[in-house]
Assembly symmetry: C2
Homo-oligomer: 232 residues x 2
DNA sequence: CCATTTTGAATGAGCGTTCAGCAAATATGT
DNA sequence: ACATATTTGCTGAACGCTCATTCAAAATGG
């Protein structure tokens, strides 16, 4: 009963990833962290674990350790591992959608500028992290056999696709290009996803190089609308 | 001691996938199947399992059942699950490389024809199966955290990349195109991988549509060299 | 105190691996 | 030819480990 350890305060000395630390730092500390804060902290730890160990080797123990919390914690805040993973994917999908939504807002109303913004924001620092790419890829690998994942992995979803298609269509009309817009759009979207895949595989490809490859595509597809520096 | 079951002969009545059946059918049956035949049979069953259940839920029991053989069998022919998976990936990588190698052979020596062949063969019936795409994707998801997989997943490897780059370079010179060939090649390769990814996710995208999207890309990039029907 | 959050030991299911043993195929001896 | 021994391929029960889940007890805040 004497000499009791104050665990929380000393345990924080452990090395947590910056993302987890930040998620836990929303004002309140230790026990006072709100439910939502804890959930976010655990989600960040899950992304860490997915990136570090891959889907199949991600364990609740690793997530809990990564968050600097105890073993049973996940089943308290989420009720199962499955639900934690879904919440994690949901979070990433929401973040992704918010990102391109905001980029579109800021782009003004010229189609060329919008398309450029949409392509550029995919390679944004905030989204296009090794950490997050790896997590995305982990989910992609499992999506085939899990309808729930499959639905969320289409964050690049129908709406996103339609906007892309509409923009390509507009530019085609403006510029009198000859291509078939469905195929063109598909190839462009696919190219961006493929670039993500390669970024994740990590053979010395950088965000900047990937982005400029995507730009190269825009240039040949819409020569009247773009230069390497941006929309005309 | 009386009334002994003839297991092998009756057990074959189970429903095995066509691929497994074919692998097991190389002349000899039952006990006489050669070591190499059995390995192939197990590899096909592994691809089935990866496609059906995803990487994380693929078990040796499922593989053995899929092959119509007993539980201990994998550890007899391969020595561990890990090695079975590596052998499976190796097999797919070899098959993929052989496929584009052969396509290149048959294409003659005009650069445009070669590039077309290289793109087309990626969407070949033999390679581009739902089953195999799903298996590829399962490995991609784990590749990040496993150097061995990462190395093999680059079957789309350096050599492949270099050929692509050289062809794009040649066409650029022939056609006086303005783009920067490194980026162009990267975007093209990425596009094909992205199309695979989407084929696997399976939102009603067909092999044919994916291929024509890739062709659309070739058209805008190399307008003087290609029509929708093929190289000029 | 009571409610809420957190802990960590206990539980049990699932899975990879091992291995003794059986049966088919092949080699050897007569 | 046949009988016997040896090798090879395969089986499936048993073992032990990892990990998600549960829960009683403790810590904390109000």
């Amino acid at each position: 009963m004497h000499l009791r350890l104050k665990k929380n305060e000393t345990a924080v000395r452990m090395k947590l990833s910056p993302e987890v630390r930040e998620a836990a730092d929303t004002e309140k500390r230790g026990r006072k962290a709100s439910k939502e804060t804890r959930r976010q902290q655990l989600i960040e730890a899950t992304i860490d674990s997915l990136a570090k160990r891959g889907y199949s080797e991600t364990t609740l123990a690793d997530v809990a350790d990564g968050a600097g919390l105890s073993r049973g914690i996940v089943n308290f805040h989420f009720e199962s591992k499955e639900k934690l993973l879904i919440a994690t994917l949901q979070f990433m999908a929401d973040e992704y959608a918010a990102n391109w939504g905001a980029a579109l807002e800021k782009a003004g109303d010229k189609a060329a500028a919008q398309l450029w913004a949409l392509v550029a924001c995919d390679f944004d620092r905030k989204i296009c992290t090794k950490r997050k790419l790896a997590a995305w890829c982990a989910f992609w690998g499992e999506a085939k056999s899990r309808p729930t994942y499959q639905a969320l992995c289409g964050a690049r979803d129908v709406k996103y696709q339609d906007i892309f298609l509409a923009l390509c269509q507009t530019l085609k009309d403006e510029g009198d290009y000859a291509y078939e817009p469905d195929g063109m759009t598909l190839a462009l979207c696919a190219s961006m996803e493929g670039l993500w895949l390669r970024l994740m595989m990590g053979d010395g490809l950088t965000r900047e190089k990937a982005f400029s490859a995507a730009v190269e595509y825009l240039l040949v597809a819409f020569p009247k609308h773009f230069t390497r520096e941006g929309p005309k």
